[in-house]
Symmetry: C2
Subunit: 355 residues, 2 copies
DNA sequence: AAAAATAGTGTGTTCGATAACACACTTAAA
DNA sequence: TTTAAGTGTGTTATCGAACACACTATTTTT
């Protein structure tokens, strides 16, 4: 265990009776080694537990790796901004080891823009790729291309079976929906009602992430003793007036309802919370996702009761970390990595750490 | 921002018009530098942003630091074991940089044993210390001794004002009590009762940690609309039969009670949960602290409803990390560091990550 | 006045891995 | 037979920081 006894290349060379140049060629598979030398060196290598001194290596190595992340365009205070922050932090740490990190943005609602990013990526000379998995068939395509070139890649957000990413980082959306359901059903009566607010972006379909959370939620509710009704509000991003009308309609006109809890399965809980704040309506329990600033403020003010966090920064950080560990140290990692499902309320949000 | 443009000692030497040896002497304050050279080098140093290449440094440096942690003896599956794991992990990472890490154990219920550990510590030639802050006046004493010797130290678990630790890592016990209160009071009726189980260790007093959690809990309850009663159960560690009797007494003999929720403010929630399991009594909500195995099992089985976690591993990890960052890179860090207050239920415990 | 100590400075070596380079051979083509 | 290309091997400069050491110039001690 003594770190001073670490075996060096020169030790191996001596043991094998060859020069350090030969050992180096064997280790790095650079060829130009005779059968005989190869055998001798490999024999020694299989005996001893050699791992290169990373300090010496990084010192000399002028090797520059380029890692590219394919992520959706995002605004500030957005789930993807937090992922991006995690990437940034990992990138800072790896910079001194010769890792250049770059982002390629695409429009998450436009498949064509994703394809364009892929094309661009393939023209770049990259050594590692992080892919936000929005368009599965395209991701499969690029994965195969990367497999051929032997370039490691990592998926974030969603996984795809039967591919060979170095790792996958994401959240277990289904179970996080179940978590929300468990908590809400503990807070309201069995015959009270629940409102699910769906936020649409330019009338496109909901993301898999959101659908999966909702499924986990509904499945749990179904199995439970819940006997109330579930109402749905279809909201549109940035359609302030229209959204208020839609919500008014549900709360005013739906006769006989007793909505006591509400949930949104994406980060737009603040829209609903803001509606309740403005209209001065009280619910027993309002649940949302993602610790974006707008949500945090409303949580602290008491208009949101629970936020479910998924550590986007950690996701980004670890995604890049896995690639740099692979490139620099040839380390393996866990294949499937789910982020924690964090529960944040007014009283513990100040202690939250996203990394 | 370009990592290749990092300034080296030779650059500084050239800029100052002296040799690298002189720059080195200035940087390391090793003396033997003329007024004139000193001024020239310092002028350059204040212009540029020099930070040594850690790879080159670690490669050449045979400097060995010794860091010692003063922590209480603990069994497996104990809060302090998890802190210890965090320390271990940080120690592994730092080993290759010449950091030797060692633990000194004391009996957390015996002041004299702590004093003895301090004495031992002072005989060792250490470069950094981590102190589990159990006995304040003794900790103040050793802190002053370390200040004199200019040895950095970090507090964990509890802080002391007016001292100069490099950093403090701990949990905000009071607020975590409030978190528990908020959640429990949301789950039971205003006139239902709460049981607080206190677990004593060899009839000694409760720890500050536990008292502070309880205070946070009670203060919140007081301010809330809660109108039920609070019962207390005084339990003794390992006194199985006696504990059952005490609990039987509360649940059976206290007439007219309606205890629906219970809480323990230390990691022994499993004792209470096990009692409820064996006696087949149902509560609406049982809350405990610390993600030790016994608690986790009972949470998954549904006998515990909520566990509050404080990331002991992270605490240990970061405590040592702060010291190694100081010793190796002379980095500063945040002074006061509270760990997150994690809320774990059956549905999200599988995704918990303690680091 | 000579010898010894000290201040101030620069040079050279070390750490371990890497890869360019030099050199000795072999084989194939001209 | 000469030339060119290719193979296998060992030697060596390099990365940047650290520090031992050698050297000169000055001061202090005998």
């Amino acid at each position: 265990m003594d770190s001073k006894k670490d075996i060096r290349i020169v030790d191996i060379a001596r043991m094998a009776g060859v020069s350090i140049g030969t050992v180096d060629r064997v280790i790095h598979k650079r060829g130009r080694v005779s059968e005989e030398s190869l055998k001798k060196v490999n024999a020694v290598l299989s005996m001893v537990n050699y791992s290169p001194n990373i300090f010496a290596r990084s010192l000399v190595s002028k090797k520059n790796y380029k890692v590219v992340a394919l992520i959706p365009q995002h605004s500030t205070d957005d789930y993807w901004m937090y992922i991006s922050e995690g990437l940034e932090r990992a990138s800072e740490e790896a910079k001194s080891s010769g890792i250049a990190f770059e982002r390629l943005y695409f429009n998450q609602y436009d498949r064509a823009s994703f394809e364009k990013s892929i094309e661009r990526l393939l023209t770049l000379d990259v050594d590692g790729v992080i892919i936000a998995n929005f368009f599965s068939s395209e991701v499969v395509r690029i994965s195969k291309a990367l497999d051929v070139r032997n370039i490691p890649y990592v998926y974030i957000d969603a996984n795809i079976e039967d591919q060979n990413p170095l790792a996958y980082f994401g959240t277990h959306s289904y179970d996080s929906g179940a978590v929300a359901a468990r908590i809400i059903s503990g807070r309201i009566g069995q015959k009270e009602d629940i409102l699910i607010a769906k936020m649409f972006h330019n009338s496109k379909e909901l993301s898999n992430q959101v659908l999966s959370r909702q499924k986990g939620f509904l499945d749990y509710i179904e199995r439970s003793a819940f006997a109330g009704k579930i109402y749905y509000a279809d909201l549109k991003i940035d359609a302030h007036i229209r959204n208020f009308e839609a919500l008014d309609k549900i709360f005013d006109e739906q006769t006989g309802h007793s909505i006591r809890a509400a949930i949104t399965f994406n980060s737009t809980c603040h829209v609903l919370a803001n509606y309740l704040k403005v209209r001065d309506r009280k619910l027993t329990y309002l649940v949302g996702y993602d610790l974006i600033e707008k949500n945090k403020v409303l949580l602290k003010e008491g208009y949101i009761d629970l936020l479910i966090g998924q550590r986007p920064e950690l996701q980004g950080y670890r995604a890049l970390k896995v690639i740099t560990d692979k490139l620099l140290l040839n380390l393996q990692s866990e294949k499937i990595n789910y982020m924690p499902i964090d529960l944040l309320i007014k009283e513990n949000i100040d202690y939250y750490q996203n990394l």
